[in-house]
Symmetry: C2
């Protein structure tokens, strides 16, 4: 390992005097940690103390370029025997180091400055060279390999930018929801019964009785509407789906909200529209560099007003209301895709993934929107708590949000009347006594309410134009993968 | 059911004209939703539209007091045939309603105003009267009953204030950590191996192989230190502990952070000190009303300087450094409690709950601090990733934070050297190959790092002076309880 001991004391104590000698300007080096590039740039001519990992070393004749990976940036540094008081051999990729460096003006650098390495303190050296190349522009390998070495490949500049953006989205959602008087809750993930029904649920032994992993915080967020009117949760959601597709994860991060005193499920869609717009605006401020690095094309909302809709919109679309996100009824969307793309409709009560893609393609072309709300899903395809359309009980007051070809949200109005909920359960042959806790809330007074769940990984994937949702999960779980 | 139909249209359409007739001041009633009491107060003399649940009805002779529960407040309203244009019988406790009301000056009201109910729209009525009284000052029942009817008892003003405060704490932590350049992560809860060892782990079948529920995000947050330097997560943590005490939950909300490039584990304690101070400051601004309602005594940090320490501090305490939170070594703390309170020491390598209480009592009395850091826990009591004290390998570079008698945080420096980690695992008879993924990070370069985990429910419980941590979990899970 290049003969470098793992812990090495800085060779010369960094004192005000030593730093002053270097520049003649400053007495004490500024310790840089978590500072932005702009803040470092403002130190030009001065000496700083900075820490990070050696991301890439390029030895030239007589000097070396060193890319330093800090908490958020990759910074160009220069090693030269002219000013560096340590042997170049001590710079090892993926070593963690503390550096004393001069912030030097450099026109050829993109930032207008570079760091000239003066002194080095090695904090740790890797025991072995990397099993996979992570310091190229992108990690050039199969997704399986990428995920097997996830804790290493995430050190790649572009890989980690993905999750900085995901954090930004999440912060944006929260900031918006707090402003809208939503209260954040933490609901249990160990539950006695699944909220979404079906066999797609993980079960486990809980001190001698059967428990399940929550498929969503559905029951709890509804209960909490009776307490705070508006609530949200960002947390793990577990689905034991056996699908092996690029769209499915068995554990994902759900952004769930639920709101009371609505007059129509359209208020929930409006809230989501506003949430998306607010979060995407915040994101551009918080993650400008990461968005640029990943060449992210920000999604457009509808650009055309209703009056200028193209003539080729089928007649049944004429009632399509125009928001920032176009809305279309499920049945109309099915017909539209079949008619416009001349393809057989297939299954009448659900979308095929290809239909979702085509619908989004159509909406994008016609209205300029990357998003589309599909509303009024068939009753048979929605859970027992979904409110039916009073004008047509075969439909529910529900919606999905599709984004660039993929469903990212499911939402709708819920039944708040005890009697109605009982009747619907009985119609479905369910046993209300199995849901006694859940029904207590309806029995003792609930406001009209509804909500939605958004998959954070799916949203991030479509925003960053990744085909596979595994790319936007830190440590994805699928039918084959439980590690790392 | 008082003969009230479940859905009832407002009797008189609320128009600008109708509202104007009432006050002669305003043309359109202000629709109030999620507004603060101050904002409503500013409408004094005007008419508002407001929605909520009838919390409490007190019929007097000729009029009635009506407490309206909105998303955050309980607001006093008055019904009187003089100005209310609906029969009083339509006001049913736990009904959800929309009201048109005059904001009237009223000196006898604590707020200086009250709402005079003009018109009523009933949105829903409960199917049955409450099985438990929730609209008294406190819910007067056993904790078991309180939890069995949790979705109802949380509607109590004081009960829901608990979780508004918990939200405030959480927001405060996040705001502080974001400012300190921590990146928020979402790590998987379905894992292949437990991080904390022992039998206290839930297992389940994961598509034919065994999976576990994460006992902490430990492995993942460490891996992510190699990516972002500083990370945090707020999420569920699962412990299959069979303890049936007032301090244990089988699922709780962990606030976990991990930070790289530390020079000592004391930096982690300093970070926690600052985080607690920042969050408690934010909380007082965000939740003033709730803190007042629950008569919360905000915790003090140390008030005495080192020079004024009382003489009765035992000699071995003389090295106790003075921060905002006093620090004491584990061995010294054990000796101090034994000596000061004249009680047998019992188990030498761990605290008994009673000792934690006595230590806190002592620290509170001597230094005015509600918190105390206990440092340098025995090696045998800490996990395999804990860094040993180079000066005394029987001790670790670790700490717990005790708050008002209860451990709320465990933290410390972790081993970052691959060789050291392997050696420690081998000394403990562990099989490193079972931790291959985890060790990949050490093998390929990690900075010196450490972190901590804080139990959100425990912290909230001690802040609000609840003896039982179940009181500060929305829907607690314990060895006997999996519902609601």
């Amino acid at each position: 390992m290049h003969g470098i001991s793992e812990e090495r004391v800085m060779k010369e104590t960094v004192t005000g005097e030593a730093a002053g000698r270097e520049t003649g300007k400053r007495e004490t080096p500024t310790r840089v940690s978590g500072f932005s590039l702009e803040e470092i740039g403002r130190q030009t001519g001065g000496v700083i103390l900075i820490q990070g990992s050696i991301y890439k070393l390029r030895r030239m004749s007589g000097f070396a370029f060193v890319l330093l990976r800090t908490g958020r940036h990759v910074i160009q540094c220069v090693y030269s025997p002219e000013f560096s008081r340590f042997p170049v051999e001590e710079l090892v990729e993926e070593s963690c180091v503390r550096l004393r460096a001069l912030v030097a003006q450099e026109e050829r650098s993109r930032l207008g400055w570079e760091l000239r390495l003066l002194e080095l303190q090695v904090l740790s050296v890797p025991a072995e060279p990397m099993p996979i190349v992570i310091n190229q522009k992108k990690v050039n390998t199969s997704i399986e390999n990428m995920l097997d070495y996830r804790m290493l490949t995430l050190r790649n500049e572009k890989q980690r930018a993905i999750f900085k953006i995901q954090e930004g989205i999440c912060q944006g959602f929260r900031a918006f929801l707090q402003k809208q008087n939503f209260t954040e809750i933490h609901s249990p993930k160990l539950v006695e019964a699944g909220a979404e029904g079906g066999a797609n649920i993980f079960s486990l032994d809980y001190f001698g009785r059967q428990a399940y992993l929550a498929q969503s915080p559905q029951f709890y967020k509804q209960m909490m509407v009776g307490v705070y009117e508006r609530v949200y949760e960002v947390g793990p959601v577990f689905r034991a789906e056996k699908h092996d597709t690029s769209r499915h994860l068995n554990e994902y991060t759900g952004v769930d909200l639920e709101m009371g005193y609505i007059e129509s499920f359209e208020e929930i869609m409006e809230m989501e529209e506003e949430m998306l717009q607010a979060a995407l605006t915040d994101l551009q401020a918080a993650c400008a560099r990461e968005l640029e690095l990943l060449k992210v094309v920000m999604p457009q909302f509808a650009t055309q007003s209703r009056e200028t809709w193209p003539v080729e919109v089928p007649p049944q679309q004429s009632h399509l209301p125009m928001g920032r996100i176009p809305r279309i009824r499920f049945a109309d969307a099915k017909a539209l895709v079949a008619q416009y793309y001349r393809r057989p409709m297939g299954e009448k009560e659900d979308f095929e993934p290809e239909e979702e893609k085509l619908l989004c393609q159509y909406i994008r072309a016609q209205y300029g929107s990357a998003f589309v709300f599909v509303t009024h899903y068939p009753e048979t395809k929605r859970p027992f708590y979904a409110m039916d359309n009073p004008e047509n009980p075969a439909e529910t007051m529900s919606f999905d949000l599709l984004f660039r070809g993929l469903e990212i949200t499911t939402g709708g109005q819920r039944i708040h009347s005890y009697r109605e909920q009982l009747q619907k359960m009985e119609r479905r042959g369910m046993h209300p006594e199995e849901f006694a806790d859940y029904l207590l809330m309806h029995r003792h007074g609930m406001p009209p309410h509804g909500g939605l769940g958004l998959g954070l990984e799916r949203f991030t994937a479509r925003l960053l134009a990744f085909e596979n949702v595994r790319e936007t999960s830190l440590f994805p779980r699928d039918i084959h993968r439980l590690t790392p």
